[in-house]
């Protein structure tokens, strides 16, 4: 890891040494916000940012994200969680408390196209994406030089549909060895098996090079060209077992016109892909995304 990045991460941890995030999902009913904010107040935590959403008042599902500041939080993580359990049970909550200073460990998977990887590395390098990039895995050698220039381990694991199982076995081993929390598929052109996906539920982010659900599957730019669309787009989403059908995190588009052939669309598309993926990863790292059924609630 470059010295400046190391410094960024260290500064971030210092600046956030008292910061936590409380994430809640439960059936809606009156009194949730009061109970939660009382709990925080009684435990010396001040609410810095709070976002909530209810699918349907009284009958729906309630979602809450609170960012709080709690002097002396470090060392009290388990105590905090254990105390909250009582509140959570009252309201039948699914919940988690994240400690902002505990950096998550990310693996990036990539194939031959490097624009998304590059964007992630630079955003990380300049302090925009706060995570430990534990390693980069690729089925090709193209990314090695770039990755290693950032002092990040690079692992080449050949992969294609004939050796999917073996490749994934090696990948899973590496992910465990490096203690990885989540995976970003930065234009990794291989399909993952249900077993692999099941090992990281809602913890694999992919970039698809179209505005889904248009052009699900292979060669979206070629098909966009054939159809004569005037917009091309990109979609970042969590990976599920249905190809390109997982919960959508973020989408964006750029204009094309009749002069743009499929190759031009690819080039233009790269600019959208990299920003749409980087935004999705950033929100994920900031715990701004709650997954509910096949959709995302994004508190940004």
């Amino acid at each position: 890891m470059p010295e400046t990045t190391h410094q960024h991460l260290h500064n971030f941890q210092e600046a956030n040494k008292d910061k936590g995030r409380l994430l809640i999902c439960c059936p809606d009913q009156p009194g949730i916000v009061g109970a939660v904010s009382n709990f925080l107040f009684q435990n010396g935590a001040n609410i810095m940012e709070s976002s909530q959403y209810t699918t349907d008042a009284y009958e729906g599902t309630f979602f809450l994200r609170i960012e709080f500041d709690c002097p002396g939080l470090q060392g009290k993580e388990e105590e905090m969680k254990s105390k909250f359990r009582a509140v959570a049970e009252n309201f039948n909550m699914k919940w988690d408390i994240k400690f902002v200073y505990e950096l998550r460990r990310t693996a990036i998977f990539v194939s031959k196209q490097l624009h998304c990887l590059r964007e992630l590395l630079w955003e990380w390098h300049s302090g925009e994406l706060v995570t430990d990039i534990a390693l980069v895995v690729s089925n090709h050698e193209d990314a090695r030089e770039l990755v290693e220039s950032f002092g990040i381990p690079f692992h080449h694991i050949p992969a294609n549909k004939d050796i999917r199982k073996e490749a994934e076995a090696k990948q899973l081993e590496l992910l465990e060895e490096y203690n990885v929390d989540q995976i970003v598929l930065a234009r990794y052109m291989q399909i993952l098996t249900p077993d692999f996906v099941a090992a990281y539920p809602s913890r694999i982010i992919n970039i698809h090079h179209s505005f889904l659900p248009a052009f699900v599957g292979a060669n979206p730019y070629g098909r966009a060209y054939e159809r004569g669309v005037k917009l091309i787009g990109a979609t970042s989403h969590y990976v599920t077992n249905d190809l390109d059908e997982g919960p959508i995190i973020e989408q964006d588009i750029m204009r094309v016109d009749h002069r743009d052939h499929a190759e031009d669309m690819k080039k233009i598309g790269r600019k959208v892909e990299r920003s749409v993926l980087a935004r999705g990863v950033k929100w994920d790292l900031e715990d701004r995304i709650l997954v509910h059924k096949n959709k995302t609630i994004v508190f940004n």
Copy 2:
């Protein structure tokens, strides 16, 4: 027609009484531009605006749109066309000359939702859309008051899938009676038969309430909500016999988020629909769109 609109149209015709537009599509080969510009020069026409596009140099198709100024053009329309025929034959051109001061006559079809109709009427009223709006046809009465307040004939022709043939027969009769050049479907929720479409080839513009090819068919906002997309869009296109598969003219999108239910998306979508349709109609009226295979070349 309101007095101000009448004045707008009259002023437009005066200001453009020497203006013509030459539209060409032919196999690419050297010398086309030279031949065409010499023809114009020799006939006293000055090129005001010129746009060209070639699908593939030497082997592809060549498209040209020229807007020219030719003092004394009125009265010489047939002469101009007849003289150009020789040039056209040399290069095996499909071509047309449009005379800007000859207003085209437009019919608008609408059902119960009036936002697109309203936008078209106001843009027309303020001089943005230059055409004679010959009549408005609807399968409901909702639009009558609005349409008649602009002094435009309104015709209620009940229509549904059981009486499609009869309805279209009446519509075609009206279109002939009103001497209509082209049709805009401003959220007209009925499917047209192949016979109807064949009577107005590349002369029917529709607005589809999604960014095609996503959500072809019915209820796009409901399906967009189900899928959890973060963008909704609209597409204006020429109507062909394949539902929502005609050549795309223009598309645009707006952002939505997890708080937007299908009903909200509909409301947000209206803003995109009306602007995407109005832009498409404007470009069409300005002869900026050439249709080639199932795509459009838009010289804007």
Copy 3:
């Protein structure tokens, strides 16, 4: 008022007969959210939507907007406010409770250009802007027909810099007579005096036809053309005594290019102006905007 609009407003009031909004601004300190949510819980109110923002943790200013549902709210308005006073005093709050079913009364001021007025009337007509439009005031007659076609009183009060005082005296009289809560300047091209502005603090919204602070003052499109900008924009803002210097609510832009003369920019600009103004007014009517110093906090 048209029957459909009347129906929209009535339906809205019915659907929101238990809805209130609590708006708070106070020095930040721990415990605010807890105190407020306990108050609501104890008074039978369920929090439907909640947004907060703190300029600077611990030392800054805290802003809160809560939308709540409280069965039987009607008739208990004063009781609710009176009970909340104790909480408010504890935290030194500036605050208000709005009752969603109490429609605010709006006056629209306009001159000769009608596109913004038209947008507001149509958005109101279709149920997007929920307010009583009490009257429209203009220094010209151009808008009369449009306004009266919606059954809204129209008052022509000649105005120019020589008769400013007299004109404003008449306007203020009318505003009082019609019991107006707030004013929208929908391209009203007259400057208001400090006395007039003082009578409606943070309750006059203006649309300026540039992306402020570029092109403050007169003729922004002409100056944009001279400068050769590639974007033109519009800004909706609250009116203060400094011309075009009030708190900005919303801004947006559209692209122009070298072919667009000042007149073209005006036409393109109209599309931005009307949507930027309509969004600003909508957020204001939904109590989503808090003004702090010379800026806005917009909870949308």
Copy 4:
């Protein structure tokens, strides 16, 4: 230069070995397009792309950009130019013929912020920006590692307002030594003297970190924050002697809200700056920009 970049550039030159671009500016009159296209036809050149613009028909200035394909162009450059001189004199043209396979040599100036430099290097590396990057000049050492990793010479020339003359003397010497055609200021935070600017007229592109003419001068993000704008932007422009007043090439914006402090705006702004600069440089390298008075005609 990395091997892949070298390959990109070589491939580009091969693919464009017969390609030229003709750029014309002259008083408008009938017959220009005809004369030019005849000249090209008679010299065996086929028009691939043609764009024209007239400020004002008959009385205004006429601009033309033609991209042509002329087998055997290499070696005939001077002959082509010399033959065209006669046509040019007839119409009193300012003109140039560019040969696409002759790569221009670019110098990049940078200070401590590297995001724009990085974007340019990567777009160049991936074949989007076609030029020889001759050297990078900086008044700091921060960029050295990045620049040298691409095999590009890096020169550190300390600069500040007290040693401007000496610094510029060294810079001009280097620019001559490296045979530089044009300069890109990729967030180079020093003001250039009139003498320096005069040495590269319309050949220095700068990125300004605001949507000009808003926030001319220093610290635009700080001032944007103070003013409470809802959009921040960036502007790429040619450098003239009036600070931030040169002809605008391209502008774009991104949304910010009340939560974004000046530091956040800086981060968000980086994304706009780098894309707005990269687009400007790309269009310049493709000879798509004609400068006229203090504006640009951009044929893109």
